[in-house]
């Protein structure tokens, strides 16, 4: 094989990879249209004031907190305002080094509470459980530091209800979020988990833990992430949900059937992507037991969270996410083309391996090789430009397509100029942001390969209430 043959093969490989990858995501977007159609059809009726019967499934909300002293009180207060007939909030202070516990003690008049639950899952020692004199449905667990997964397991031990909702301490939930995210459990009894749509609160007005007005941030990095959330997380997951192939429910907001999660062993404490690992494990468990089940994604924007606005924080986050993804896929590699794997084993798992796991490697090596081949005269300058334009053109089309879906469904950003700014961001994110992201994800992949220790995803926050 000559260098020329190798160059031709390389060009074909990368070109076809990008075309197939974009085509795959576009197919997912079009699949998500079915869910969007249902949403548009039902929206007005489902938004009528709820009439509760007392038969709604009660929910335990688990809030793991590590060094969240600045935001935890506002977050818990907003949770207490949720519109749902029966729920409890369990905050798990995972050995915070700041004043997370102290501020809660003062704000909610906490007192030592006798009871830790049935201890179904092993966790780091619980130091004390507290209840609140102000809110009968609030409990706080103070435990030794063990990570987010360990905290969720401790919360599961104390929870009393058949469904639990895991949320991040800095999440801002809409008042009707529980009502919306529980809907799949009511409509389809075989539902074992449902994920809510996460939106970015940067640029939005948040008052007393509740979202008052949606808006766009001035920070370019946050703006790019809004487009990215629409493109990759919202419409991608909606598409997977339709064929019951969703492998990720964000740790920021997900509702699960407790008995199934307990049966599967709870959260694994030795992975950084405990949220994805759990969902993949639930698929694995249900498939291997041959049970009928459903894991659903709820398209309504129900949970808002703060995106990193600093490059370093974003980099750490993406490295952690990629490590989590790699770990989960590796742990459950037997699902790949498993004879009982169904849509997960034969479609979504291979898709994730190809276009999420290996994508950063292909992306970065593709850019490098194209530049090198052009530099050494193996391909012409025009060819190099053509490839770059094609890759970016496909990327823009994918991003803009997600914006279109947003327009015909949720249009969470109401102003005319919001749409135009998002369109510009959809163009811009293809010139640097996506490439940078791929590079970080490649670093995550390498970290996973060399097994570097993971830790709590600490994030420098501006604070959502001040993010506007």
């Amino acid at each position: 094989m000559t260098i020329n043959d190798l160059a031709i093969f390389t060009q074909w490989f990368y070109l076809l990879f990008f075309i197939f990858m974009t085509a795959g995501y576009l197919v997912l977007n079009f699949l998500s249209l079915v869910s969007i159609r249902k949403f548009v059809q039902w929206h007005d009726f489902m938004n009528l004031p709820p009439v509760y019967s007392g038969f709604e499934m009660p929910i335990s909300i688990l809030v793991p907190a590590y060094n969240e002293g600045a935001t935890i009180v506002a977050s818990v207060r907003s949770l207490m305002q949720l519109d749902y007939p029966q729920f409890e909030v369990i905050v798990v202070n995972d050995g915070s080094r700041d004043k997370t516990l102290e501020v809660m003690k003062e704000a909610f008049e906490l007192f030592a509470f006798p009871g830790e639950g049935p201890r179904l899952l092993a966790t780091k020692p619980v130091l004390r459980v507290y209840a609140s004199r102000l809110y009968a449905n609030l409990r706080v667990i103070d435990k030794e530091n063990g990570g987010k997964a360990d905290s969720l397991n401790a919360g599961l031990n104390l929870s009393r209800y058949p469904l639990y909702c895991s949320i991040d301490a800095d999440s801002v939930l809409e008042r009707k979020s529980l009502k919306k995210v529980v809907q799949p459990f009511l409509e389809e009894p075989s539902t074992i988990a449902s994920g809510g749509t996460i939106r970015l609160a940067n640029g939005c007005r948040v008052d007393h833990g509740l979202l008052v007005k949606a808006g766009l941030p001035r920070n370019l990095l946050a703006l790019m992430q809004i487009v990215e959330y629409l493109r990759a997380f919202l419409f991608g997951r909606l598409g997977w949900s339709l064929i019951n192939g969703m492998l990720i429910i964000s740790g920021a907001f997900g509702l699960f059937r407790k008995d199934v999660v307990i049966r599967s062993g709870g959260y694994r404490t030795d992975t950084v992507g405990e949220d994805m690992e759990l969902v993949t494990r639930l698929h694995h468990l249900m498939k291997s037991e041959g049970r009928r089940y459903q894991i659903t994604f709820v398209p309504d924007p129900v949970c808002w969270t703060e995106a990193p606005e600093v490059l370093k924080t974003l980099k750490d986050q993406r490295i952690r996410w990629q490590r989590g993804l790699a770990e989960s896929l590796w742990i459950h590699r037997k699902l790949l083309f498993h004879w009982r794997g169904g849509t997960v084993g034969w479609v979504s798992f291979p898709f994730m391996v190809l276009f999420e796991w290996f994508e950063p490697l292909v992306m970065i090596s593709g850019y490098l090789l194209t530049l090198l081949m052009a530099a050494f005269g193996i391909i012409s300058f025009q060819a190099m430009v053509a490839y770059l334009v094609t890759v970016m053109g496909l990327g823009i089309m994918h991003s803009v397509n997600a914006l279109l879906l947003e327009e015909i469904s949720f249009h969470a950003y109401p102003k005319f100029w919001h749409a135009m700014v998002l369109f510009l961001a959809a163009l811009l994110e293809n010139f640097g942001y996506r490439q940078m992201n791929s590079l970080w994800r490649l670093m995550g992949l390498l970290q996973w390969m060399f097994r570097r220790e993971g830790q709590w995803g600490e994030m420098k926050r501006r604070g959502i209430e001040r993010a506007a």
Binding site: I19, F45, F55
Partner: protein, 358 residues
């Protein structure tokens, strides 16, 4: 210029890789531009829609607010294209109020003379329109809607059929019961909480009696699901059914459901043996039932359950003991103090604190 000419020269089209890349790039750019045009068009349409909404709200919000307090003597004319907007707002108010205010809303929609238009909306394809029309037809007691509603009761779509059931029961509870109850038994896709909401809205006597009769002849797996709807009812037929099922059924799920709704102290002797049932959830619900309807005589039986092998049985028993009618606090404190198992002390303390918090 030369560079540009070179770029658009046939090399783009003769080299297969470059040709593919070129075509894909052009197609992607073209689609992105078209998408932008479409987004702008959608936004413009949305702006006009919002203006219409705003004008509509200015006129109709005060009218509906007044209707909830007193009769609106001369309501404005409702434009044909605003009927859906009106139903949304009207439905919103209707589900937020009860009694005379709700009757006032029914009156105003009658006075508007839109019955025929609502009947037409029952057949619209857009689900929200159809569902709002079904709901309005029920509250308005439109007798002409009965036939289409009976058809919609058999719709495969659970929300359409359940909303139709709700409308029929509002329209004419006496005669609709015979149609709705068999559907409640048959439809496994009707969400439990929504069915319970519908049952709460209509007079208990005809529907609970009929439901009790239907449950009696249903298979055990359906019985377990349906018995839960009998919670909170005092209808004699329903109470008799629970008692009979507890006497005759050996199905753990059915027994558990009966214990869940048990309210009569007459059931006490039937509950006691279930404290030793092999299934832990039956034992747990038996303890809870005794906590509601038992008395001090249940004390020794329940105390023994504090050492059950299942944590949930122990916890719910502690809860039930704390709530047991006729038990003084001193007795609980003594039990806690002299308990030979540390966990019993802890569970009782937890239950007592939780009771105080409530």
């Amino acid at each position: 210029m030369n560079l540009l000419l070179e770029w658009v020269s046939p090399v783009w089209l003769t080299d297969p890789i470059l040709s593919l890349a070129f075509r894909v790039g052009v197609a992607a750019t073209f689609l992105a531009v078209m998408t932008l045009v479409f987004i702008v068009a959608l936004r413009v349409d949305m702006v006009f829609g919002e203006r219409r909404d705003s004008r509509f709200q200015k006129i109709w919000r005060p009218v509906l607010m007044q209707a909830m307090v007193s009769r609106v003597t001369n309501p404005p004319r409702l434009a044909r294209r605003d009927l859906y907007r009106f139903l949304k707002m009207w439905g919103h108010f209707h589900l937020s109020v009860k009694g005379e205010a709700a009757q006032g809303l029914d009156q105003v929609i009658h006075d508007l003379g839109v019955s025929k238009r609502i009947l037409r909306l029952l057949h619209r394809r857009k689900l929200s329109v159809q569902l709002l029309a079904i709901m309005a037809a029920g509250y308005m007691k439109l007798s002409q809607a009965r036939k289409p509603l009976l058809r919609q009761l058999r719709s495969l779509h659970p929300l359409v059929s359940l909303t139709a059931a709700r409308a029929l029961l509002h329209l004419d509870p006496e005669t609709s019961v015979s149609h709705v109850v068999p559907e409640i038994v048959r439809r496994l896709d009707w969400p439990l909480a929504l069915v319970a909401t519908v049952l709460k809205e209509v007079p208990a006597v005809p529907i609970m009696g009929a439901l009790a009769g239907a449950i009696r002849s249903a298979p055990p797996d359906s019985q377990a699901r349906l018995v839960r709807y009998l919670a909170d009812t005092q209808e004699p037929a329903a109470l008799r059914l629970v008692e009979d099922l507890m006497k005759s059924s050996s199905d753990a799920e059915v027994l558990s459901a009966c214990l869940f709704v048990a309210q009569s102290p007459r059931l006490f002797p039937l509950i006691v043996p279930l404290l030793r049932h092999p299934q832990w959830f039956v034992r747990m619900n038996a303890a809870r039932a005794l906590g509601r309807i038992g008395d001090a005589t249940a004390w020794p039986l329940m105390v023994s359950l504090l050492k059950d092998s299942e944590w949930w049985v122990r916890y719910r028993t502690a809860e039930a003991l704390v709530r047991l009618p006729g038990v003084v606090e001193g007795r609980l404190l003594r039990l806690r103090e002299y308990a030979d198992v540390p966990e019993i002390k802890s569970l009782l303390m937890q239950a007592m604190v939780e009771k105080d918090m409530k």
